[in-house]
Subunit: 423 residues, 4 copies
């Protein structure tokens, strides 16, 4: 298992001993979302309901294309959502905010979906932002009540929330997903290198050693839930936590969903490498508003994000180059991210040429189907008895755990090869 | 052999019986260029000499990257160039024109390379433009003298030109490459479906049934030369001609080199497919000046080119979509092609988003290393005893013969898989 | 009056003898729209009501900025709309189509505005498309009944429609505006050069000599209504018709509203001229869907439009240059026009540089406030006793009548100078 | 005179009493360049010689267009250049660097111009970088010898350099121009508010109160030379220095030449204002390499530049908006600046739209003709007896002294109006 975490292009996980090859799911799958009232989670929840109700088709869901659709994945209509958030609102208001601010959810849908969406609120509890910094705390105004507890008590309370959710809905399977705002980078220390040391830090209430995302993932690992770290917060899957996931036999995947400008980078950079065109400079400018943008306007939070966005290029190309990634807060854009990339490259006889692209996408719309794909594939892996970092989910992440390849074609082939062994 | 021509993703060609696995080349390799004084051929010739002389590095040559460089390919310093052109000029003037017009070749190089470049002129003969249409003939002003001969005599004279070149330089191996201007589409008729019928048409001097590119390729096939159709002229590799190549045991590859905007398309479109993002519209606008632009300003010639550029998308994506490819003549740009592509796509919940890119590349600089790669790989294939359409060269072409795959990652993998069986 | 029509930068019209300097409007102003159910007219009508009701602010209306707002213009809340269209629908359905297709009108507004909007339908009558070509007729399916009448009877029926509208609402002032689809260019002949000859052609029912827009404008001129030709149809304001407007003492303005890419051109080109930067090439690519796009997909209709878009540059710059204007139909974009312009220019020492821009605007949203501005300013001019081509409205048009200046700053200054003489 | 410095749109300066209306220049005009070996100065010097020698035409020089060419300006062939620089090189090497790095000066020209260019070196002396910060000093490596002198001695040595230049070439007229790298912003204090206090600071050798640009401009003011501050260094024209220019009766102009992205801004922003389109966001990203880029990579120097680039928009538009200006160092681009601007705006009914542009220009090529225009116009003003800030030169500057208008059309009209009073 340890070797899984090494950054190599691991082979697709072998089938777990005694596991069914392509097992069929039974019953309802629980989905526990950290950041459950955010724009992304709201789009995930509403989208799953809309597709199940036939209001929308399955565009954006790779799991609905060949050959992935031949895997026996959880139907979108048999998901039950719950989660944590630090803001006190409700699902319907979150949907209305999306409608008003970003126009992504047709007005007419709310009538059809109001009842099931309203029912979710009772499974969403106020969470924690311990040591997450000013930018995130400001989303709420004041620290949530739970933050006054000891670290150990916070962990226990998280576990209790999930257990209550499972009990209420008689769930036997739950996938946990972190879609909360990007925390500042957690500098790794001894407390993060082994489970024993992490437990000591928690018991000693050393709050500077953790961030909220770590407390959540640690609690989920204790519960043995398959886990997906969808944002750039690095604290969630430190070695101490993945050790616990491995012991619990639960798979995990991460981190930082690759939905827009970085996705394009990972599709384009291989072209330059194949053609032996030498990229001299690749500048990427990301403009976005919205709650995400507010948090990333804070230099400490942005730094965590830029780190995963920026490292891709030299890895794909195989040599150092001049790169720069900017994430600038542009309130008027809200969630309609606009990115401009400029690529300066040298071709035959040293002649210099250029390419530039502008990407205009809605972040939540791009990311939500990835989250649904990941939930279904992580649940599938768990049902197959897989554990460790799910390397075959590399095409979904900017910083794929268990996979050194950063180019999209190679990553995509890993997922296809994985599927081929299960179908 | 016939099955090779079918548009399937053929397996990499098996090693010819008794052929060495990775045979070493011996002696000098002849390169016969149709369109030898054009900007592309001039860049190929000057570039090969410059790299061999250490004036330039190997940027742009995929054959100089791993793992292709482990194949025993012909050294760039052991190539001898000859060919046909319809304009009466010389290599040095062609180089000076490139320097003046496009600035692609450093001024200082001419001193170093003048002697070997000047020596090439005696191996370049005035060719033919029979039935190539007004736009191409206008490059010369009047029809070249050879066009007054019967078709059969033209073919014989082409063969004699190449034989003389081989005799003068004691060459045993020559690769023929067509880099001449794009001809109008040749509507295929009975005369193109079987070798017997083509020979009859030639013997009966049915000039409307051929174009210059067909006469050239037919002559090269009679000589048993490996052949590369680098431009969009469809006449060169009609079934009647490939039948003759197959009989002669010579491999061929084509057609329409993929160097710029279409290359980007074939790298980006798979990303949309993987993500199940539905592309609604893909518009591509190509602006270029130069001799190429003059010819493509003619609607009949442009049509041939647009046909290969435009078909890629629905093949990669797997569904019909609204596409448009424009090629507009912009004299001031000369060879510095500027292309703007606009992609309108639908994501999750039917939400519409957009991407656009601008590609600014010098056509000859992008294409020349592809031509050199193809010459080396076609010669290698011939030395390995391969014949038929070289499907593994698909990443080099807009309309790859012998390969249905249009996405760059799949094509590139075919080339890697091929190399892996030879190394 | 004749001199007004010459393409000179005429001085701001002097105040009509005995006219009030800045007269206050009284009562309700009628607005008669040709193309009343189109996307632009629907945005004009809904917009005027929304602004009057306080649902929207006055963004986009130059007449609401200093110093124009000091003119005593008709209040937006005191307009009454009527008109012709060839499609049989109603205002509310047209609004709903805009909401559904383009998202430009907030869903909630309909409740507030439904009553007054519904009341407009009784003042919209089925019009004529005589000799307008296939593309426009196809918007309706079959020719409208009125087209079976003689030309003279059609003219009379148009006059009766307007008279009925005025009578029903006791209107003394009506401005007529043509916002119908662009017709194919009408080649000018003797019938268009003098009023007498035009009347003869109409009396002789020479249908090939007219287009619908000409019949409308001729009827409006007979009624003495101030008139605005907002689209590129050249037939509406041929000399024979302007002669009649002049006799009737009614001012007119046109043609082809300058709302998007051409507006940017007319703002940017002066910069190149001031700096003595030599523009070599200016390519403009316009992508749009929508009913407008359908009509312009027809080469004959597009030609009329391109002619007015393309002539601007050499007039502003003062020398010939390589230009190209494409208008391509991209259904998925609907009314969200996307234009890409590429400008190649030469600077000091002959060095070449480039600028490109992408304009993404909604055509109806950009054009509707121009139409409202023009209605108010044309009515104001009429109240001031002005007649002839309203040269001071040049900044609103691609092909401004009565004004040779094509650069936006000069045109804008003409409007300011005009206002200064009235305030 | 004091009122001149206020930020009002002053009327064109009245003709000096007894001054000729459009006086003819006599003899040779000296040009003293601070930063004489930089890319801009080298392009100015080489360009003036090339145009005078008929190697290049006058593209880029507004002073060669109507009506400015009717002013009796100094002929480009009658300029003599001298100046200061901190790097020890020579004009020919600087030209060769431009050829090699940026390709802006044709290789063949050097033969023709070598003699006159070589003759300039003896008039270029090693200058000073006192208190200019690390980034600028690093261009040289170590502090220049002159920096060890007292401030007063430095000023005297500058004066002596210019006097020697005038004596050697018997010049009676010299225009001084600062084209040296942008210094960090100088925080203004009492020492900068009056000449008396500045003289005291210099006499007391308070080095923290000055920057090199201030020492230069102070010395030039003492010599009574017309002066142009072409870069963003704010120290050069503090009130204490302009007081001295006014006393000496010498005109001055500045500051920060408007050659590229900001120029486009000042041409486009008025379009949005005229149309009452509300700009929500205007982001500007400037990528450049070169010596200028190296210096601006330093946050303190960049800050000075960004300040002048950024303030334009809200002044033109008349309301606050979200703006951001980035200047990023991209070594591979050298002097070929690439800028991307994104404009997000709201139109009628609150609907949001966007425009973006990419500007690809060579900075020195764009700026050099502005410098030559300014030299000629400043000399003309001096010959007309004008003094104070030359407000009519506003179109040349990002931060025009003596002129509040920031929109290009208004600024350009000021220059035309000025010319009209002189012709």
């Amino acid at each position: 298992v340890a070797s899984r975490r090494r950054q190599t292009n691991s082979e697709p996980s072998p089938l777990g001993a005694g596991a069914a090859r392509n097992p069929k799911p039974e019953g309802v799958l629980g989905v526990w979302l950290v950041g459950a009232y955010g724009g992304l989670a709201t789009t995930v929840i509403t989208g799953a309901h809309a597709v199940a109700a036939g209001l929308a088709d399955t565009t954006g869901l790779a799991t609905e294309t060949e050959p992935l659709r031949q895997l026996h994945l959880q139907p979108l209509g048999a998901l039950r959502f719950g989660g944590h958030d630090i803001r006190e609102t409700n699902v319907l208001d979150s949907v209305r905010e999306l409608q008003r601010e970003n126009g992504t959810i047709p007005v007419g849908w709310l009538e059809r979906l109001a009842r099931p969406l309203r029912a979710i609120d009772k499974d969403i509890t106020t969470g924690t932002v311990i040591n997450c910094g000013r930018a995130i705390r400001a989303l709420r105004g004041s620290a949530p009540p739970r933050d006054r507890l000891s670290l150990r008590a916070v962990v226990r309370s998280i576990e209790n929330d999930v257990r209550g959710f499972m009990r209420r809905h008689r769930l036997t399977r739950v996938v946990a997903v972190n879609v909360a705002s990007t925390e500042p980078l957690l500098p790794l220390g001894p407390a993060h290198r082994s489970l024993a040391q992490l437990e000591r830090a928690i018991d000693q209430d050393r709050r500077g050693s953790v961030r909220a995302s770590l407390l959540y993932s640690y609690a989920f690992a204790r519960l043995g839930l398959p886990y997906i770290q969808f944002t750039a917060s690095n604290a969630a899957l430190v070695p101490a936590v993945t050790e616990l996931f491995d012991r619990a036999g639960a798979p995990y995947a991460g981190f930082d969903g690759k939905s827009g400008e970085t996705l394009v980078k990972s599709a384009l950079a291989p072209m330059f490498r194949h053609r032996n065109l030498r990229v001299l400079t690749w500048q990427g400018y990301n403009l976005l508003g919205d709650r995400d943008g507010v948090v990333l306007a804070n230099a400490r939070n942005r730094h965590a994000k830029v780190a995963t966005k920026d490292s891709i290029l030299s890895r794909v190309l195989g040599y150092p180059l001049h790169t720069h990634v900017a994430i600038d807060f542009v309130p008027s854009l809200k969630d309609h991210k606009t990115a401009w990339d400029f690529v300066h490259f040298e071709g035959f006889l040293g002649f210099r040429m250029a390419m530039q692209f502008t990407w205009q996408g809605c972040d939540a719309i791009l990311a939500a189907p990835l989250v649904l794909d990941l939930i279904r594939l992580a649940d599938f892996a768990a049902r197959c008895g897989e554990r460790g970092a799910l390397a075959h989910l590399a095409p979904y992440f900017k910083h794929p755990l268990g996979c050194a390849a950063q180019d999209l074609p190679t990553q995509w082939r890993m997922l296809l090869d994985y599927a081929a062994t299960r179908i």
